[in-house]
Amino acid sequence: MNNTPPVRIRVQFSKDGDLRFTGHLDLQRLFERALRRSGLPLRYSQGFNPKARLSIASALPLGFSSEAEFLDFWLDTEIDLQEVQQRLSAALPRDITIRHIEAVPNQAPSLQSSLLASEYHVSFLPEIDTQEVAAKLSALLARESIPFSRRAKTVDLKDLLLAANWQRTAEGLELSLRMKSTPEANGRPDELLSLLGLTAGSYQVRRTALIFNADEMTKHG
C-alpha cells in the first residue's frame, strides 16, 4: 500500500458529439479506462475491489453537450501537469477535450460539495417559434410557483431557476439559464422546457459554466 499523500489533479473538460449520449456512470467508467490507458500512476482505493479514485462534479443529463465539466483524480506521484494533460488527452475519445488542468490541495472540499449552480445555453431547431417560447416562459415565470413532478416527489422549478435570459444570435433567439446544482436541489433545463411544450430533440442544451461556492466564489467556464 502506498502511504504517501496522493496528488490531486483537477481538469475541466468539454463533452460533445456522440458522447452526449454517454451517461454519467458510463462517463466515469470511460475516464477510468482512459486513465488506465494513459499509463499515469493512479491512486487506487483500498479493499477487495480496488478502483481508481476519481470524481466528476455533476452529472450532465443525457443528450446535453458541455464545455464546463469538472473531474478530480488522484495520482501516486507528482508529474508535470503538461505531461499529465498530454497523456490523458491522447487516451481520451475525440469528443472529450481537456480545457484546463491544475493541481488541487488534498484538503480542498470535493467538487460536488462546493458546486452551487450551472449555466446552460439552449438553442432551438429552426422550426420552433422562439418568440412564442419566450412568451410562454414569461407567463410561466410570472407564477408564484412552478410545480414539477419527478417520479416520487414534486419540486418547484421556480426555486431551482436562478436566472433566464434571451439573446439574439445569427441563428435566432437563444436562451441562457442559470439553475441550482446542489445534491439537495438540482435544476434541469429539460424539465423547464417540457412545461413550455417543447419535446426533447427540438432544442439543444450546452452547459457553459459551473459555479462553485464561497471558498472560491468563482465561476468556471
Partner: protein, 624 residues
C-alpha cells in the same frame, strides 16, 4: 459512385436519439473503432450481430472478424446491431434505413453483409435488419445490385431453417473464410457478371455452403427424401473449415461508451473439448482441441489490457481446467498482473478440487461473487447416459473445498428433459443441491447461498442425441414444478428456461428448409427480439406454423429414424454419423467413454483433418 449519405442520416438521427432508451447504442465512436475513408477501399463489409448492441458488442467472434477485415488495406468492416423496439419504431416512422455505427452508412450500400448466428432465437432479427436496410428478405429476390448476404457462427451447423434468406453460409471457423469470401467477391466485382457466377465461385471455397445449389425433396411422411447438389462441382457434404493453428488472438478490442453485458477483454485459450458429453453441441462441432501457448496468451492479455484500459479479462474455452498448461498460465497471469488490479475470469471449470486450486492461484485477481459447477445431472445413472461421469463424492468434495476456501455462493447447473430421465433423477437434483447447501452451512454458516440453474435439454444436431425428441411440455412442467417447490422450501434460488422459449430453440435448431416460410410468417406476425423473454411471442410462431400448414411437433416431438436423412446431414463437422450412432447406443446401454485425449475413439476428426495436424512441439492438439 456510392450513394451513401451519412451526413443525411446524422441529421435525422440527431432528432430521434433523444426519444429512445440508451441512445449510446446507436452512435459508435468507441475507442479502437476503425474508421476508414469509404472511397479509399474497394470492398465494404457490414458485420452484424442480430441482437441489440448491449449483447452483440462484446461478441468475440465478430471482434476477431472486424480486426481481420480492417487489417486489409483494400477493405473496411463496419458494425451494426438490432435496434431495440423503440428505435425500430423511430427508424420506420422517419424512414431512416438501418445504418452502420462507424460511418452511418445504410446497410444496403455495403458490398457484403455478414451476420453472426451464435444461436437460433435471433433469426427473426436477421429478417428485421434486412427489411430495415431495404434489402429483399429472400435470397431468390435479390439481384446484383444488392449486397451479398452471408452468415456464420455456431447455429450455422444446421443452416437449413435460414436457407431462404442467406446467400452463402460460412461453415466452421471463420478467420480465413471471411477473407476468402471477400476476395472471391472482389474478383467477381471486377467485371459485370451475373450473381450466379459469384455463388459458383463461393461454392468452390471449402467450407462455404450456398443453399440454392442444393435441391431438397421430401418423402410422403414429410421426412427428407434426398438432398441433391444440382450445380456441378459443389461439395457434398460441405465440410467445416478449421484452423490447424489458432492465429494470434485479437487484442484491439473496442471499448464501448455505454455499458454492455461483458465489459472486458476475452482471450480464447483453447478451442474444442475432448470430454465428449453427449448433449453438448459445442463439444462435438468444435473438434479437434487446439491450445494456445501460455506465452501467446500472456502477450495477448497484456496487449489487450494496454489497448483498452479494461480492468477485466476472460480466459475463454469450453473446459478451462483441461488446458494442458493451465497452471502455468494462471501462475504467470498472477505474477504479471498482481499489481495492476485486473480481475481474471476463468469460466467453464471442471468439477474437481484442482479447479478450486486454480482459482486460488489467482488470489486477489479472482473476481468476487460465486463459484460455478455444472454437474448437468444428479444421479450416476443419468451422468453415464450423458457421458459426464463423476462420482457424487467428487462433487460433494469439490463443493466442500469451495466453501472451505472462502466462497459463500455456489451456482449449480443441471439439465432436465434428458433421455431416459425419471422423476427420481429430477428429485436427485434437489437432494444434491440441499446436501451441498448443508455442507456450505456447516462450514460458513447461514451466509451460504446455493443457486440452481436449470436448463431444458434440446437434442442438438451433430450430437449423439440428435435423433431424440424433446420431452412433452406437460412432463417438463411437472419437473419444473417439483424443482420450484423443492427449492422454495430449501431456500435455494432457482432459475430456469421458460418451456415456450425452449420450444422455439428446438424448432429452429432441428428444423429443415421448410421452416423458412414459418420464420418469414412469424416475423410478419410481429416476432422479433425472441431471445428476450419479455418480448417473446409464442402465438406469433404458432400462428405462423398454422398459416404455413406445418406441424411444429414434427420437428420436436418425433423420435427420428436412425436411417432418416437429417436436415443437417449434408453439413459435415468432421465427426462421423457412424460415431454418433455408436455413442448413442453406448448411452442407451448406460456406458461411458473416457476423455478422448488419451484414447482415440475414431470420431472422424483425424480422418478429416489429421493431415493438417502440426507437430506436437509446435502446438498441442487434443487428438493423440
Amino acid at each position: 459512385m456510392t450513394n451513401n449519405q451519412p451526413t443525411n442520416i446524422n441529421k435525422k438521427l440527431e432528432k430521434i436519439l433523444f426519444s429512445v432508451e440508451k441512445p449510446g447504442r446507436y452512435v459508435g465512436g468507441e475507442h479502437n473503432q476503425v474508421r476508414k475513408d469509404w472511397n479509399s477501399v474497394k470492398t465494404h463489409i457490414a458485420l452484424v450481430f442480430p441482437d441489440i448492441y448491449d449483447l452483440g458488442q462484446p461478441n468475440l467472434g465478430l471482434a476477431i472478424l472486424y480486426d481481420i477485415v480492417n487489417q486489409q488495406p483494400d477493405m473496411l468492416a463496419e458494425r451494426a446491431y438490432s435496434p431495440w423496439v423503440d428505435m425500430e419504431a423511430q427508424l420506420r416512422e422517419n424512414k431512416i434505413p438501418l445504418f452502420s455505427l462507424e460511418s452511418k452508412t445504410p446497410l444496403n450500400k455495403f458490398d457484403i453483409i455478414g451476420f453472426t448466428l451464435p444461436y437460433e432465437q435471433i433469426y427473426t432479427n436477421v429478417l428485421n435488419i434486412l427489411d430495415l436496410s431495404g434489402v429483399p428478405l429472400l435470397a431468390s429476390e435479390r439481384t446484383a445490385e444488392h449486397p451479398l448476404i452471408i452468415a456464420g457462427g455456431q447455429a450455422c451447423y444446421n443452416p437449413e431453417p435460414m436457407a431462404d434468406f442467406i446467400d452463402a453460409f460460412a461453415i466452421g471457423e471463420g478467420e480465413e473464410l471471411i477473407l476468402e469470401i471477400s476476395r472471391a467477391y472482389q474478383e467477381w466485382k471486377r467485371y459485370p457478371s451475373p450473381r450466379l457466377e459469384l455463388f459458383q465461385a463461393l461454392a468452390r471455397i471449402p467450407g462455404v455452403y450456398v443453399p440454392s445449389f442444393y435441391e431438397v425433396s421430401y418423402a410422403e411422411d414429410g421426412t427428407i427424401h434426398s438432398v441433391f447438389p444440382w450445380m456441378q462441382g459443389v461439395a457434398m457434404p460441405v465440410k467445416k473449415r478449421i484452423l490447424a493453428r489458432l492465429p494470434a488472438p485479437t487484442t484491439r478490442f473496442l471499448v464501448p461508451n455505454v455499458e454492455t453485458v461483458h465489459d472486458r477483454i476475452s482471450v480464447e485459450i483453447m478451442r474444442g473439448c475432448t470430454r465428449g458429453c453427449r448433449f453438448c453441441h459445442a463439444g462435438m462441432v468444435n473438434r479437434p482441441v487446439r491450445e494456445r501457448s501460455p506465452e501467446e496468451i500472456l502477450t495477448a492479455v497484456q496487449a489487450g489490457l494496454d489497448a483498452t484500459g479494461y480492468e477485466q479479462v476472460g480466459l475463454l474455452s469450453l473446459s478451462s481446467s483441461d488446458h494442458t498448461r493451465i497452471l502455468d498460465i494462471i501462475r504467470e497471469v498472477y505474477a504479471r498482473f498482481k499489481d495492476s488490479r485486473v480481475q481474471v475470469n476463468l469460466p467453464s471449470l471442471r468439477i474437481a478440487s484442482f479447479s478450486v486450486d486454480l482459482m486460488d492461484e489467482l488470489k486477489e485477481l479472482r473476481p468476487g461473487g460465486g463459484f460455478t459447477l455444472a454437474p448437468e445431472a444428479a444421479t450416476e445413472r443419468m451422468r453415464a447416459i450423458i457421458n459426464k461421469p463423476l462420482d457424487e463424492a467428487v462433487i460433494l468434495e469439490t463443493a466442500r473445498t469451495i466453501f472451505e476456501h472462502g466462497w459463500l455462493s455456489l451456482k449449480l447447473y443441471f439439465m432436465i428433459g434428458l433421455p431416459q430421465e425419471t422423476m427420481e433423477d429430477v428429485q436427485a437434483i434437489l437432494d444434491l443441491a440441499r446436501r451441498i447447501k448443508s455442507i456450505g452451512k456447516s462450514i460458513k454458516g447461514n451466509r451460504v447461498r446455493v443457486h440452481l440453474g436449470i436448463a431444458t435439454f434440446i437434442p442438438k444436431p451433430h450430437t449423439p442425441f440428435q435423433w431424440y425428441s424433446i420431452e412433452d411440455a406437460q412432463s417438463l412442467q411437472s419437473k419444473i414444478d417439483l424443482l420450484k417447490e423443492g427449492t422454495r422450501r430449501a431456500d435455494i434460488k432457482m432459475t430456469y428456461n421458460p418451456p415456450d422459449s425452449t420450444l422455439l430453440e428446438s424448432w429452429l435448431s432441428r428444423g429443415d428448409r421448410r421452416l423458412g416460410a414459418v420464420i418469414l410468417q412469424a416475423w410478419k406476425n410481429g416476432a422479433r427480439l425472441d431471445a428476450w423473454t419479455e418480448r417473446f411471442n409464442v402465438t406469433a410462431w404458432l400462428d405462423a406454423f398454422a398459416a404455413c400448414g406445418i406441424d411444429p411437433d414434427f420437428y420436436t416431438r418425433r423420435q427420428r429414424g436412425l436411417d432418416e436423412i437429417l436436415p443437417w446431414d449434408h453439413i459435415s463437422t468432421g465427426v462421423s454419423k457412424r460415431f454418433l450412432l455408436t455413442d448413442l447406443r453406448l448411452s442407451q446401454a448406460g456406458k461411458t467413454r473416457e476423455d478422448c485425449r488419451n484414447t482415440c475413439f475414431n470420431c472422424g476428426i483425424l480422418d478429416a483433418y489429421g493431415s493438417l495436424k502440426p507437430s506436437e512441439q509446435e502446438i498441442y492438439w487434443g487428438c493423440p
